[in-house]
Symmetry: C2
Subunit: 206 residues, 2 copies
């Protein structure tokens, strides 16, 4: 385990925690207090740390995500798991609020050809988010949802181009996970820089 | 406090926690064990809960954000605080990795007219994120960064239109906070739906 720590740059205590939480498979036991870890362990460790520390996912969510990566389900089914990874918070929404939210989201989904079944986690997440924005009285943000949706479509095309570029089949699922979770963070950071520039353009000049 | 809880729909225990953590200002004391809370307390409570439970911000970050909202700094300075709110994780990056990351981000920033000083938190966040993506071996995602940046510019224009639409000056700062934090979540959810649709378009049909 000391070697695994040195190889991955991750402290032994953190590795033990990931093992205990079932995120990392146990090594091959070679003696009562020694185990062998391979290249795959180093790779998996780096992925877990990236999802927790950079991606901001909870340990419970990462457990679910790595289980999906390890299962033999097709790449496009893993997207369902990634959608589940959004449900950080369960916001209670009244029936009336849900109806209002679906009245906002439904036409946008139809216009963009987005189809979803009942209990789709991304839709649940969006229902909670738009209801929260409304309860705070920020209608102006909701008025922009069409432009957000347009941009989401453009990013999704870039995302699938990324997936297409992956040659090896067993790397595709991992690429979908990394692209989705770290892609969210990448976009957040770029959005902040773009906002600062647009703010300066409108308010600081002339 | 029981009334404040009924009015806001937030449990008394949660309200006490927010008071203890300094997120919510104390009410006006009317007797040794009674305090008066006003409309502003209800409003602030809802904002705090939205940032924590839907926005996914830590209590420490929310404390910083509400302090910025309460200060009299101009709306565009609050964006600096919102950039700080990104630094969920401090990823250690070597000098060589930082140089590589800036070689990737610098030309994009210049092409989009994004200017930033040293130690800009959004840049630090992006440096950590792109280095993590590279260390996981997902170059294909980094190849799309130009398209992500283009889309970030479009969203920033929508974001500033939202801000411009707010009539009242003292709501502008709050609108910037809500738009940035809940806007991230809104975009994440829409991106998932768009990805699922684009995946179906490419892999499930024909």
């Amino acid at each position: 385990m000391a070697e695994l720590s040195a190889e991955s740059g991750i402290p032994v205590a953190t590795i033990k925690y990931y093992l205990r939480e079932g995120l990392l498979p146990a090594g091959e036991r070679t003696s009562p207090n020694q185990a062998r870890y391979g290249e795959e362990h180093v790779r998996r460790l780096k992925l877990i740390r990236a999802l927790v520390e950079v991606g901001g996912l909870s340990v419970a969510t990462v457990r679910e995500v790595v289980a999906a990566v390890d299962s033999d389900r097709a790449a496009y089914n893993v997207l369902g798991v990634m959608q589940g990874a959004l449900t950080r918070s369960a916001v209670d929404v009244s029936d009336a609020d849900r109806e209002w939210a679906m009245g906002l989201l439904g036409p946008i989904a139809r216009a963009h050809g987005w189809k979803f079944g009942p209990d789709n986690p991304a839709v649940e997440f969006l229902v909670g988010t738009v209801c929260t924005i409304r309860s705070l009285g920020h209608q102006a943000l909701l008025d922009q949802i069409g432009r957000y949706a347009e941009v989401a479509d453009r990013i999704a095309v870039a995302d699938l181009d990324t997936i297409d570029a992956i040659g090896s089949m067993d790397r595709i699922v991992e690429a979908a996970v990394v692209g989705t979770v770290l892609g969210d963070r990448l976009f957040e950071g770029l959005r902040r820089l773009a906002q600062a520039a647009e703010t300066a353009r409108r308010y600081s000049e002339g």
